[in-house]
Amino acid sequence: MDKLTLLWQSTSLAHFEIGQIVMMAVGCLLLFLAIVKKFEPLLLVPIGFGAILTNIPLAGFSDPGGLLYYIYYVGIETGVFPLLIFMGVGAMTDFSALIANPRMLLLGAAAQFGIFGTLFGAIALNLVPGFEFTLKDASAIAIIGGADGPTAIFLASKLAPELLGAIAVAAYSYMALVPIIQPPIMRLLTTEDERNIKMAQLRVVSKREKIIFPLAVLLATILFLPSATPLVGMFCLGNLMKESGVVDRLSNTAQNELINIVTIFLGLAVGSKLSADKFLTIETLGILGLGAIAFSIGTAAGILMAKALGKLSSEKINPLIGAAGVSAVPMAARVVNKVGLETNPHNFLLMHAMGPNVAGVLGSAVAAGILLALVG
């Protein structure tokens, strides 16, 4: 009889807690969204699976000595994984649309209002009983508005590691939902005539400009915002490898093999933070709500800025492209293109939207640097 009890005690069935079962269901939901609905599958598959693994009783994946514990410790607590991803993103990014029309940087800047506006909102949520966000927590939540997964994970791991799971899941879910969240806001804030505006074709950008650009961005960051140099520096390294054309092998590795390997581990590590005691809280609900608000504010701010810019400048600017200021490359730019085509089937805005889109990546990295410098 003793042996039988011992055997029973060694099964998971004897040790399941209700929270673990709920979190496993959340993991399965993420897998469902990834596999059936095709929402950011590259990340949600490892995150969802990580969530299942970490909630297995007795297996101890996330206890000291467990696999997920080490992956998290090595890659996220140190901030290495998001930075490696950023290098790969840099190697995939083509800045020519931005170099051809540098004023688009202002749209990328305006969309960061989503971040700082949400910071305010997260603190205001403290007035509701049950919420107690510190300024660090609020900053980490607000960066969801940057619509940039690696930046969000990097900042959350530095400022509020205990909220990382919820923040990463919110950031990636909303990035997948960009085609649903953005169009209504875009239609609400623009008139039919404005959506019809055709923009002048972009000039050809020389190779030399593309090589100097990442170096200039890095120099400006070194001089004025050193706290953003981890993100911007890795991004510029990736971009320089691509544009210089002399290290194609390194550039290919950064944008394919390396980013794929890191994505697997990053997803698992984020999943390991989806444990019941950290995720099943009222704060998670708040984070999910604030994330949606952050996205919407960023989109709206970008569009309004594009309208203002169009009024002030001699060149015509279609205000729709402001919505692409919330990074989420290249999804946001594609959404702009789609909404533009709905109004005028001959008006292709994709290349024009890529400018604010990559400006948004720089903008959110800069915003992260500011938050790190002021709050961290």
Binding site: P102, L105, I115, F116, L119, F120, I123, L127
Partner: protein, 87 residues
């Protein structure tokens, strides 16, 4: 609790102002930098391009003037190439 939240809100408001100003200043600075790069690149055009263009421009009229047709030029080029490789 309430006065605490108020001071936090004040701080968040300050962050909002400072953060947005710095983002705008920084990216405006970048606009200047990009314009400067574009200006410098226009002022000192890439040498590679002009080197690449010149021989091509010269080769075609020369071939036309001497009355040698393109396939013959190609054949001679291939033969010279082969000859050089053998040496």
């Amino acid at each position: 609790m309430q006065p605490d939240v108020m001071s936090l809100l004040l701080e968040a408001g300050m962050l909002l102002l400072v953060g947005m100003s710095v983002v705008f200043l920084f990216l405006t600075l970048l606009i200047g930098a990009v314009n400067l790069i574009a200006w410098a690149c226009a002022k000192f055009p890439e040498e590679e391009l002009s080197v690449l263009n010149q021989p091509r421009n010269r080769a075609t009229p020369a071939a036309n003037q001497s009355g040698v047709s393109a396939p013959v030029v190609a054949a001679i080029t291939a033969a010279v190439d082969q000859y050089r490789r053998q040496r």
